[in-house]
Amino acid sequence: MIGAKRQGHVGWLPVAIVISAFIHVKAFLVLPRTLCQFAGTAAWLLPLIAAFVNVLVLLALASLLRDYSRRSLPDIAGSLGGKPAQFLFGFFYSGYFLIFYALQLRIFGEFVLSTFLPETPLGVVLISMVLLNLYLCYEGLENVSRTMMILFPFLLVIYLFALTSAAAIGTFDHLSPWLGYGLMHTLGAGLAVTSLYNQLFLYGFIAPLFRGQRQLHRSMMVALGFAAAVMIFSQIVFQMSFTIRAAQQMGFPLYQIARLVQFGTFFQRIDPLFIFIWLIIITIGLAMGIYTSALVLAQGIKAPDFRPYLFPLAVIALCIAYVPQRTVDATAINDRLAVWLQVPFYGALIALFIWNRLLHRLPGRKKAAPLRLSDNGSGTAFSGQKKIKLRNRRSH
């Protein structure tokens, strides 16, 4: 399988950071505006509410992965429901990540054309980005995460500097009235945008690359906490900078924030600097999108390697990216799918979790245990197996 032998083991922190970047791609595009349209002045609460819901989801995911010694989700689906379940599981999640990769690619392309490269053909921007994404993710997650770790300190400092500078010209008054369209509406909107952190599902597919369950669990929680903190901070700064009416109509919100910062004659503007940060995070985040899609597909069809699927999937993604005729169409499709597809997206995991807990409790675990050692080839699988046996004994 596509385990540590092919891609190498990964550290919990680099993966947490790279997945945070994966999550943050949408915040760099149109998400802050969408959140404002959903919840008005309480938009900054939505990433917080969604983060709480995702803690539960991650706990369920971690529990499921622990029970199966960190095998990938399609593998677990396969051992519970057979090959068709594994194929369907892999196909659905691969398609999900591919569609969002394609839509975000298109929105990114439109952004580039709307802001700094108006004369460049859209295809050139999209193909350049796709090739860069393929190059980045071809060697697997370990490579991407190490690249990210080198760039991370610079990215974080400049990003926080840009946002803090913008916050200085904003006002907290723009965050009030505090509950937006109302408490229930805000809570409902928070639940509706649970998929804000859906990229955390990647842990379900890369679990075999971790050396131990503790590292996986820690990485998940750090990724969620860090992504939520940055997203909430970005959203607060965005809302502080614009009145809610303006924020709800703002094209490319974080870019607009960076353009507001002006330091006078010595160090005039920071948006040229911000553009680089922005591009790096988007490139790495999008690379993770196509990587996830290929990896999950390979896991779904029990292929030994994800790499052969990268290029074909990239071609399909490019075709999907051209489906929306306009920027507004791409954004609308992205927003609608993000809300509606989260039902099957989270539903599949919950179904797997319940199936494992209720219906497959004893025989399933006994059957699944021998497969674990052969899966990721790391010594840590044994300890997981031992733990499960002990737990089973206790349950007797």
């Binding site: 891609q7 802001t115 490269l117 090739l131 071809y138 009235p177 353009r259 006078g264």
Partner: protein, 433 residues
């Protein structure tokens, strides 16, 4: 560890690199500095036949280098920038038409200010601001000005900075000075749009006027008129400078002056406030920081001058019924004697409090007068509603609030906590013999 893929990996790497090199996007959007014409200032005026006049000053960098220290600043401005005016139906059309007459591509990324003529400001600016907000080349950090009367183009033609020869530097200097002295407020496009988008808040824009005497001097080779002639041209009993919308009594310098603000509601100018009113506005809006103030001496003829600094943010308490609210506005200021022209012996622990009380009373009275003026116009440019906004929970409740009507009916008390902390570099003035 990673499985080595050797030559295959190298081939893939080289291929990707080759593809990326071919696809580098700079080829389509390559812009050399020598191919661009940077517009630094822009004026939009109402023209004939429901069209608009778009006047632009295009920077001439070689002129900036050549002018050096020679010549007057007016010549400098003319040397460092060229003004062109195009009449069209919309801003984008005017820009496109202007590009047909300029040999380089117009670039607005270094635009510092957009000024509007007074008739257009009274009609409404929102249709034109949409272009400035939407088109990528305009930044929300550009300043907006409005002509006190007539067209803005005339003001830009007459503009002759005292020192600066570079339009951008001139505007940056002005914005800094406006904040420092408070006789004007120069909001950026971003600030103005934020205030305009607010459901209950109104906005202001810096007024630019012209001093007729200085304008006539400029036409006369820029020579200041003799003193006798200068005095003849002044009104017999002029109001103190900046307290009305009338031009300042002055000779020499830049014919263009920056005092006062235009009051805007839903993008339309509905009133104009003088320089002194603008200072009071800045106090209420909490954008005031420091400035020189002049007051009549409470007990003797001759003014006293103070430098007044804001100490703490303004506090506003809202009480009373929902329909007839009452506002308690509290300001905290401190001052320093700059001049005691009356030569009264105020600088003692006993008498200094008398000056403080006097200044407090004058400020309270003037602030109340300005608030009443705004109430009459049913306009809240001070953003006083923010104190109510902070207490509200839902946007529906806030949007449904008839704030302008409530503000117009509200009773207001203003209390100023003012202390003269410092006396300057001298204690008591000299005794008059």
């Amino acid at each position: 560890m990673m499985k080595s893929t050797g030559p295959r990996r190298r081939r893939f790497f080289l291929l990707s690199l080759g593809c990326l090199a071919f696809l580098l996007t700079g080829c389509w959007d390559r812009h050399e500095l020598e191919q661009l014409a940077f517009v630094v200032t822009m004026v939009v005026d109402r023209s004939v036949g429901n069209q608009i006049d778009l006047s632009m000053r295009i920077a001439v960098p070689s002129g900036l280098q050549a002018s050096g220290d020679r010549g007057t600043s007016k010549q400098g401005i003319a040397q460092t920038s060229q003004m062109i005016t195009v009449t069209a139906r919309s801003l984008p059309e005017a820009i496109a038409l202007a590009e047909a007459t300029v040999e380089r591509a117009l670039d607005f990324r270094h635009l510092r200010v957009v000024a509007f003529g007074e008739p257009l400001a009274r009609e409404g600016l929102l249709p034109y601001l949409d272009t400035l907000e939407r088109y990528r080349q305009f930044r929300r950090t550009i300043y907006i000005w409005v002509a006190k009367e007539g067209s803005g183009r005339r003001l830009f033609l007459e503009n002759a900075p005292v020192l600066e020869k570079n339009s951008s530097a001139f505007i940056d200097d002005l914005a800094r000075t406006a904040t420092r002295i408070g006789y004007s407020r120069m909001p950026t496009l971003h600030e103005f749009l934020n205030e305009t988008d607010h459901p209950h808040c109104d906005s202001v824009i810096a007024l630019i006027g012209i001093a007729p005497l200085v304008e006539s001097e400029r036409k006369n080779q820029g020579q200041p008129v003799p003193t006798e002639k200068y005095h003849q041209q002044l009104p017999p009993h002029p109001e103190p400078g900046g307290t009305t919308l009338a031009p300042l009594a002055r000779s020499g310098g830049n014919p263009v002056e920056f005092l006062g603000v235009g009051l805007f509601q839903k993008g339309k100018m509905i009133d104009q406030w003088s320089g002194q009113e603008t200072r009071l506005y800045n106090l209420l809006k909490d954008t005031y920081r420091i400035g020189l103030w002049n007051f009549d001496s409470p007990t003797a003829p001759g003014p006293i001058s103070l430098q007044i600094r804001r100490v703490r943010p303004i506090k506003i308490g809202l009480t009373g019924s929902e329909k007839f609210p009452h506002m308690d506005i509290a300001l905290s200021l401190e001052g320093e004697f700059v001049s005691l022209q009356s030569l009264e012996q105020y600088v003692s622990t006993e008498r200094i409090s008398a000056v403080e009380s006097f200044v407090t009373a004058v400020l309270q009275e003037e602030l109340l007068a300005l608030i009443h003026k705004a109430q009459k116009a049913k306009a809240d440019p001070f953003d006083l509603v923010r104190y109510l906004q902070r207490r509200m929970l839902t946007m529906q409740e806030f949007d449904a609030l008839p704030w302008r009507e409530r503000f117009a009916q509200a009773t207001v008390t203003v209390s100023v906590d003012f202390k003269i902390r410092r006396t300057g570099l001298r204690i008591q003035p000299r005794l008059q013999k």
